[in-house]
Amino acid sequence: MVDLTAPPTPAPVPIQGPWAVRARRFAEVSREVLRNPTTVIGLVIIVLLLSMAILAPVLTTPNVPDPYQMPRDWGARDEPPGTPGFPLGTTTTGGDVFYGVLWGARTSLQLSVIVVGITVTVGVIVGSLAGFIGGKIDEILMRIVDVFLAIPELIFALAIAAVLGPSFGNIIFALAVVFWVKYARIIRGQIIHIKQNEYVDAARVSGDSRFKIYRKDVLPNSITPVMVQATMDMGGIVLTAATLSFIGLAEAGLAEWGVLVADGQAGISAGKWWASTFPGLMVFLWALAFNLVGDGLRDVLDPRTERR
């Protein structure tokens, strides 16, 4: 039965036109997103993690010369959490776990912003060429994408980082090579769908150039699923990078969560649980927070793909 007292469902507002429309749309989306409690939890965790990353140099004394290297205090090995000066304890090699947790947040922030930036740019360019131009170019680009998708993500990144040699820079490069493909595929599918809309035909008839149609009508209306995916990848990239550095592909002694978990692993049989537990928890929270927010965004921005 139709409930006549219910407010009518608002028509979707296309994201184009003057800034006022965009601002209103942004406010609408934000209100909608904040209505979901799990999204809010995710946002709160993100704010906490980002403050840790930003405040790391204030809360700890940066190691010289390289603050991203763990400071070592050989006189304080395997200290349990709560030891004066070492709130989260130390590792078997005298590394301060608290320092590693904070500076690890900074490492993760840089890593995820760089990789998401590169992969979204490359993916959107490739996917746009394929979807907007179509034909032979589409066919060729998509077969390349298929091949990249054929190799499981982590294994691909592992192999690239391995042949380039162990360094965190190579991990970043490897992740960039692996993660752009999804964006290319998403944006291509969106563009092919959006292109069929009448307003695109209208723009064409009115004599707009192809690039202008792409920039003003097609791209802004195709980008939301990319934003959802990018939010989730902010988490997924840190998770994958931590896995690679856990396996041993980052420099030893780097203030990075995966490296710290690997360092702490040696001590667990002797009951020294803290050196692995805290940094691993950080990876989990980081990935969880971005997944929660990405999930909430998806429900609001694109209810059709909710089930995926």
């Binding site: 799990t38 077969r143 390349i144 298929d146 091949v147 990249f148 054929a150 190799i151 499981p152 993500e153 982590l154 294994i155 691909f156 592992l158 192999a159 690239i160 980082a161 391995a162 042949v163 380039l164 040699g165 162990p166 988490g235 998770l239 931590a242 896995t243 856990f246 396996i247 041993g248 592909l249 995966g258 978990v261 690997a262 702490g264 692993q265 667990i268 049989s269 009951g271 649980w273 692995s276 537990t277 691993g280 928890l281 990876v283 989990f284 990935a287 969880l288 997944n291 929660l292 999930d295 909710e306 089930r307």
Partner: protein
Amino acid sequence: MQIRDYVIRRLMIFPLIIVGTSIIVFALSRVGGNPIAIYIEHEMSAEEVAELEDRYGLNDPLPVQYLAWAGGVLTGDMGWSAVSAQPVTEALFDRIGASLELAIFAAIIAILMGIGLGTFGGARRDRLPDHVTRVVSISGASMPIFWFAILLLILFWVNLGWFSTGRSDPTIFATIAHPTGIYTLDALLAGNFTAFADAIHYLVLPSLTLAFGATAIIARMMRSSLVEELNEDYVDAARAKGLPERLVLRRHARRNALIPTVTVIGLGFGFLLQGTVVVEIIYRWPGIGRWMADAVLRGDQATIMAYVLFTSILFLFVNLVVDVMYAYLDRRVVLGA
């Protein structure tokens, strides 16, 4: 498009993608470092190194090198695995049983738990069970497997002493023959229940760890497709004719909800494949994942190439089977495409 045409098209593209993948794998070995670096010793003179390079055809044009390598792969010659000091093909066959056993157990756990959890949540939408399912499935996608494995070890090995790492008790291992390399199967073939129980005992922690991610994916998909099915008219019809809710769920809704869930099995399989590397390192499981990790750390390119090629082809094959199966189960997919 007819289903037959769809399957034919997929089958035609399949070898092309495998060739593409092999090109990427080959390219990997040529972008970084020297592919024979691991065979070179300190004492070798420059001439000896040059001779080695010549022997492995590193001075030939790249396409020639690729064809030589691909020809080798097709005839089962993938080079020498330095980390295991034996030919790559042999090393792969020695270790595949262990990984297969782990993956099969993890897959069974993931499918049973994923479908169970998804049904549990989906049938009680927006109530507590549903929230539990949601939390589990989002945690599964965010959980660093290496950390989860370590937490389980801290609890069940260090503190409770229930399980340990490794693959079997060495004394029990020695009591039976190992024709397949899959210990549970070997024990059953030998009719030795002690060995079987031992193999299962060592499988518990690693397979639970490995299953977590895939469980999450399956539970999530099952939950949402069940919610969708429960809104369909046929469910109302079944209820209207007086069928108890339990049977509506079991005979009608759940059966149809399983169809879309099939699609994520391929994705879940990818999770399992990737997870074996880390799980095998932490639990000291002698499979191909740990072999790969050793090769990665020592720059053993022949092993890395073989592992990536092998897992990718396996992954592609599973996805092909899943897609074809789905096309048969739900014809709307193909006809609507």
